[in-house]
């Protein structure tokens, strides 16, 4: 399964820092995401686009994981030569992350 099956995501940019807000479709998936969606895993998945550190913040009251990604490759929105200078599409890139170790039962419980 992909992260796309469990969550939606919004990217924001602050200069050469990208923020990625991961919100599960079902709050019940939050604990699974906390377990499997580690900062290291996000960092490895986004390596083509992120050159620096990835820090994860947990917000259990609202079941949200916030990833703060430093060192956006190409220098940030104003001087980047990338097509998507803002890194807006990083949210969808992250949702392509393959998750093998979340129980299928959890995925099946996602409301349509």
């Amino acid at each position: 399964m992909q992260l796309h099956d469990l969550a939606h995501c919004r990217a924001g940019d602050k200069g050469t820092v990208a923020t990625l807000t991961v919100v599960p479709h079902d709050d019940a998936s939050y604990d699974d995401l906390v377990r499997v969606l580690t900062a290291d895993r996000v960092r490895a998945h986004l390596d083509p686009w992120i050159g620096g550190e990835v820090v994860r913040h947990e917000l259990p009251l609202i079941s949200v994981l916030q990833f703060v990604c430093s060192g956006v490759r190409g220098g940030g929105v104003t001087v980047s030569t990338a097509l998507d200078t803002h890194g807006k599409s990083l949210s969808s890139r992250l949702l392509a992350l393959e998750l093998e170790d979340v129980s299928a039962a959890r995925a099946a419980s996602r409301p349509a």
């Binding site: 939606h8 924001g12 919100v23 009251l61 940030g76 104003t78 097509l83």
Partner: protein, 430 residues
């Protein structure tokens, strides 16, 4: 008592009609139009250098012409940062629009964000610790003013307030604090008002814009997306909504995506007004397209203000060519190799990438530099692929544009002097 505040624009290119709809039907106290990105003000500064009457948001008139008559009619106060690099010029345009409409409503103009003369250009940029001036010619420097810079215009009774660079949430906090009687040193109130501003400042991004993903996160009637408003109580609790009959959705999903948007530290989101702690915030659906948010905490505001500095970063060229059908991706990669070979030795490092899928590939070559002749060569080599490259290349586009870079630094609060000018109606008593 609650105050109803709406969001009528979330960026310079935003739609115009949702703001008019809000002003007409939402019984708003205040409507905020946020139209200023980091780089917009540097672009405005360049226009102002060429024409002293320019530098404000170029859509100022187009955006306000349909809105102001409705807002005046419904008693909705309007606040906007469309003054950009020239708030006084924007203020006079608004004044003239009101005069033409026979309105005696007053206009408040907030200035003082331009700190180019006060800034130490040998100070390090936050981004890379190199001196600001080492990056290129500095063209603009604007401090993020806070709600305290907007308050005098509100106290003076302005019904339209035009600013340049202020922190986006401050455009919302200032009117809320004024109407709800929040003391400037009440950090939790400032946090609550800042959170309202943070959630509303991107307009449609709270109501399902920027969220739709067919089959996963469906957004009804996206083509007629409505913009949000908030009913804010004196204790800072806010209930968000959108107008009946508009498209979009406003629920825990859209609100939570926006809650953390561009937040690099949930324990301390820094504005000129407060350090906003989001860790205790709760988000509860209270009805269809109604969400209640509360629990923001604040810590005292920072002693230094952030400054956004614009510099001349040369020019950028982007050149593209398409390949379709069987082997399109292989031909795209061959084209990339040809361009890379032809451009080897140039004093720029172009980005060369093949976008798209196996049967529909588009080579994209982009470079930034200070020498237009070099960038011209980059664009020319892509164009030359027509008759010298792989089979079936088409759709060449070559685009050159100047690049304004943006850096950040800090300035002591006492080096920044916000000012307010009140523009009264022609013939009105001074």
């Amino acid at each position: 008592m609650t105050v109803r505040i709406g969001s009528g624009a979330g960026f310079a290119g935003d739609r115009i009609d949702p703001a008019v709809d809000l002003a007409r039907r939402a019984a708003l106290d205040d409507l905020v139009l946020e139209c200023l990105a980091e780089r917009t003000i540097a672009l405005g500064q360049q226009r102002r250098l060429a024409d002293p009457g320019a530098g404000h948001d170029p859509r100022l008139h187009a955006r306000l012409a349909p809105l102001l008559p409705v807002a005046l009619d419904t008693g909705t106060r309007v606040l906007t940062n469309m003054g950009a690099a020239n708030p006084p010029a924007a203020g006079y345009i608004v004044r003239r629009m009101l005069d033409d409409a026979g309105s005696t409503a007053t206009v408040g103009v907030v200035t003082g964000d331009d700190v180019l003369d006060a800034l130490d250009l040998d100070a390090p940029a936050l981004e890379d610790a190199r001196p600001l001036r080492a990056h290129g010619e500095i063209v603009s420097a604007n401090a993020y003013l806070g709600a305290d810079a907007i308050a005098p215009a509100l106290e003076a009774g302005a019904q339209v307030v035009v600013t340049g660079r202020v922190a986006d949430p401050s455009l919302f906090l200032a009117p809320l604090a004024q109407r709800l009687g929040w003391a400037p040193d009440d950090v939790d109130a400032a946090a609550a008002g800042t959170l309202v501003g943070h959630l509303l400042e991107c307009a449609g991004q709270l109501t399902g814009g920027y969220a739709a993903d067919p089959g996963r996160l469906d957004v009804p009637d996206l083509a007629r997306l409505g913009f949000p408003f908030a009913d804010v109580a004196a204790d800072g609790t806010a209930t968000y909504g959108k107008l009946d009959g508009t498209g979009g959705r406003l629920d825990r999903h859209t609100v939570r995506e926006q809650l953390l948007y561009e937040v690099t530290d949930p324990s301390g989101y820094v504005t000129p007004d407060v350090l906003l702690d989001l860790r205790g915030v709760r988000v509860d659906a209270t009805g269809p397209d109604r969400v209640r948010v509360h629990g923001a905490r604040g810590r005292p505001r920072p002693e230094r203000l952030k400054v956004t500095v614009g510099y001349d970063a040369g020019s950028r060229v982007e050149a593209e060519i398409s390949y379709a059908g069987p082997g399109a991706d292989a031909r795209g990669r061959l084209a990339a190799d040809v361009v890379a070979t032809r451009l080897a030795g140039l004093p720029v490092t172009p980005r060369i990438e093949v976008l798209g899928g196996p049967a529909d590939a588009r080579l994209r070559v982009a470079a930034r530099g200070d020498d237009p002749a070099v960038l011209e060569v980059v664009g020319h080599e892509v164009e030359a692929l027509y008759t010298n490259g792989p089979a079936g290349g088409g759709g060449v586009r070559v685009h050159h544009a100047p690049v304004l870079g943006v850096l950040s630094t800090f300035i002591p609060r006492d080096a920044v002097r916000p000012r307010t000018r009140i523009l009264e109606a022609v013939g009105a008593a001074a």
